[in-house]
């Protein structure tokens, strides 16, 4: 039985692992991989104490740091279910199940599961994934040299996908659901004025077309309800993310968009014994530094909880 199980491998999970180790809390950390969503960033300039670092280096540093602090690392695993045993803590505990069928028992849980990319949920998207449907613009933009592409989305990720694609693509359609773009104003201006870019407002995607690879995208202009097939060879999906709160959704309060509602003084969720921080929580600003700081808050509060309820074994 662990005193704490940390779920996740990003900055929040690692910060929690380091602090838990220093508090001698008997801890396991379950993650599919390390680094969090910043792993795909080429350079990160705002990770405090480091002038610039690549996403990959940050991931390696995070992994090395947490491995140095005594938590048992269970990697390559995804948590699929969390259940209360004997009513959950403080009297009972939790049973965690992973995708491969592994089970872990623990007195407390820290959810640092982050968020994952939203998909369009339209016909053709899954079938043509990797065959013209792109979820990593930074990775794959160069493959669409001289081709026409559509970018779905209106936020910063969509703007960055356009910036990544401008040197390569022949023509870029940007599908914006509403009547205006969101995201960084300076980048918006740069994109709007670029001759390769056509912005289609009030437009949604309906079907990705193509047999073996993408040949088009069926779109609907919402004000006129008119369908148009864009002849494109690439569809870049950049419509934001959704929190990975599913394993805990029966136990904790979630807000409308599925984030775990926490007490921002302690990061405690509505369920006794479960804490959360980072992108899976209802924190207003999704930032690596904030995730790490909030995770520290959570672990200090976990430590108090274990002591208060006489659940802490290290100093007995």
């Amino acid at each position: 039985m662990y005193e704490l199980v940390i779920i996740g491998g990003g900055p929040a999970a690692v910060a929690a692992g380091v602090y838990a180790g220093r508090k001698r809390i008997k801890t396991a950390l379950i993650t599919e991989s390390f680094g969090g969503q910043s792993i795909v960033s080429n350079e990160i300039y705002n990770w405090i104490g480091t002038k610039a670092i690549s996403g990959l280096s940050l991931a390696q540093n995070l992994e090395a740091h947490v491995r140095d602090h005594g938590a048992e690392i269970i990697d390559g695993e995804i948590v699929t279910a969390i259940a209360k045993i004997d009513g959950g803590p403080p009297t009972g505990h939790f049973l965690i199940t992973t995708k491969s069928g592994k089970t872990v028992e623990t007195k407390t849980i820290f959810m640092a599961t982050g968020s994952r990319r939203k998909r369009l949920g339209i016909p053709g998207e899954d079938r043509l994934d990797g065959r013209g449907v792109v979820f990593c613009s930074t990775c794959d933009a160069p493959l669409f040299k001289g081709k026409d592409i559509a970018i779905v989305g209106a936020g910063n990720a969509a703007l960055e996908a356009a910036v990544d694609s401008i040197p390569y693509a022949n023509k870029i359609y940007m599908l914006v659901r509403g009547s205006e773009m969101r995201g960084d104003a300076v980048t918006q201006e740069k994109i709007k004025s670029h001759p390769k870019v056509t912005i289609l407002f009030n437009t949604v995607s309906q079907e990705v077309l193509g047999e073996k690879s993408v040949t088009g995208l069926r779109t609907i202009e919402k004000t006129t309800n008119k369908a148009t097939d864009l002849a494109v060879q690439g569809v870049f999906v950049e419509i934001g993310s959704r929190p990975n709160s599913d394993p805990a959704k029966e136990l904790v309060s979630l807000n409308q968009i599925g984030e775990i509602v926490v007490d921002h003084k302690t990061q405690a969720s509505s369920c006794s014994g479960i804490w959360a921080a980072g992108d899976v929580s209802d924190v207003l600003y999704k930032q690596n530094n904030i995730s790490a700081g909030d995770a520290v808050k959570a672990v200090l509060n976990v430590y108090d909880f274990l002591h208060r309820n006489h659940l802490f074994a290290a100093n007995k």
Binding site: I39, V40, S41, N42, S54, G55, L56, G130, R131, G132, V134, C136, T138, C139, D140, A141, P142, L143, F144, K145, D164, Y168, K212, S213, V214, G234
Partner: protein, 76 residues
């Protein structure tokens, strides 16, 4: 002796992860930058049907993305 080819782009972090993995294993590989090399891009498409990197060819086994268990299984 393994014959390994990685099709990559300079901006792809999963390609970097794959290359670092081979380096730490001490396994040699050939890299093709498909952002620049049109012929290699065609090869990649023919082998995998994929418009996404990395594509890794290990002794003729085609692996899409950096899937570590699959890579390990394909290595001799």
């Amino acid at each position: 002796m393994n014959n390994i080819i990685i099709y990559s782009t300079p901006t792809c972090v999963y390609c970097k992860m794959a290359k670092e993995y081979f380096k730490t294993k001490g396994v040699e590989f050939t890299e093709h930058n498909v952002a620049e090399d049109d012929a290699a891009r065609e090869d990649m498409l023919k082998k995998s049907g994929q418009m996404g990197v990395p594509v890794i060819d290990i002794n003729g086994t085609i692996i899409v993305g950096f899937n570590k268990p699959e890579v390990e299984a394909a290595l001799r």
